[in-house]
């Protein structure tokens, strides 16, 4: 009887874990909020938070027209982007916080693949590699002198595929998505992203 109860317990635990899918415990997840203090009066230029259930729906919706992109999205558990403006007086603090986060990532097994400084822009790119798989990607830094951007992708990632597929799409200014969020119309879609194909 005890064996049956143990089995039952395991099944229930497994079911609960699946239902919850605790994204924050995945190795590729970066809790950048814990390091970066977003100024209260700041203007958020972009905020994307797409978890697995919604990503699966997107994947299903585009599978026929864009099978390679759909397949790639299938492997992703989270897409998170946060971009916000930083006032001049806050710049030094945010830069320091980004440096602290970068140091912490390096201590916890993340691999720095790039750090670019172009004038006022400073971008860090990190990959989380487990075995032979890339399970996390983090890009963070200043897009413009006063625009901090954080991008975290969690899941089974192929950076080369991201580069290849991403290059097919034209990119709109960061705040276009914020405007879009307010009026989520499908007609705006064509103006923001145009496939080059």
């Amino acid at each position: 009887m005890r064996i049956y109860l143990c089995l039952l317990g395991l099944l229930i635990a497994q079911g609960t874990a699946r239902a919850g899918e605790d994204i924050e415990k995945m190795p590729g997840y970066v809790a950048f909020d814990a390091y970066i203090t977003v100024p209260t009066e700041t203007e958020t230029s972009i905020e994307v938070y797409l978890k697995a259930p919604l990503l699966r729906m997107v994947s299903a919706a585009i599978r026929r027209e864009e099978p390679e992109l759909a397949e790639m999205i299938d492997g992703i558990s989270l897409i998170r982007v946060h971009g916000f403006s930083v006032a001049a007086r806050e710049l030094a603090r945010v830069r320091k916080e980004i440096a602290a986060l970068a140091a912490s990532l390096e201590e916890t097994g993340w691999e720095r693949v790039a750090r670019i400084r172009e004038g006022d822009e400073l971008i860090h790119v990190y990959l989380r590699i487990d075995g032979e798989k890339v399970t996390g990607l983090l890009m963070m830094g200043f897009e413009e002198a006063d625009e901090a951007v954080f991008v975290n992708i969690v899941g089974d990632i192929d950076p080369a595929q991201i580069g290849r597929l991403g290059s097919k799409f034209n990119i709109a200014p960061l705040d276009s998505l914020r405007l879009d969020r307010e009026s989520a119309s499908t007609s705006a879609r064509a103006t923001v992203l145009e496939s080059e194909e």
């Binding site: 009887m1 039952l8 991201i162 290849r164 991403g166 799409f169 990119i171 998505l177 989520a184 879609r189």
Partner: protein, 116 residues
């Protein structure tokens, strides 16, 4: 008298036999109903859990789905663009950190110890 004793003994024997049969049946019945009950419970929980999990998924309108698709593509395009921009820089970084700097360090060390 003998008949009475005989009847009593027979009755006791019958009762004992019944008791043994009941015990034997019980010994079979217990392991039988338990797995059946546990299996039924597992099925109910699995079905119930799946239904609850599916119901727990957000209901998404076509507009929201289109927005999510756009956000995915935007993010990929952004990463791709940054990747392209980093390409040359990475090469410079790698050369500076992993080739030039170690050579400089070796040369400095060698000069310091007067080996050159």
């Amino acid at each position: 008298m003998v008949e009475e004793v005989y009847q009593r003994v027979r009755g006791e024997l019958r009762a004992r036999r019944r008791q043994r049969l009941r015990e034997w049946l019980d010994s079979w019945r217990a392991p039988l109903w338990r797995p059946v009950a546990v299996a039924a419970l597992v099925v109910v929980l699995a079905v119930g859990g799946t239904v609850t999990y599916q119901r727990g998924e957000p209901e998404v309108s076509p507009a929201e789905l289109a927005r999510a698709e756009r956000q995915v593509k935007w993010t990929l395009a952004y990463l791709s663009r940054m990747g392209r921009r980093t390409g040359d820089r990475v090469r410079d970084d790698v050369l500076r950190e992993r080739v030039v700097a170690p050579i400089q360090r070796s040369v400095n060390r060698a000069m310091a110890t007067g080996q050159m």
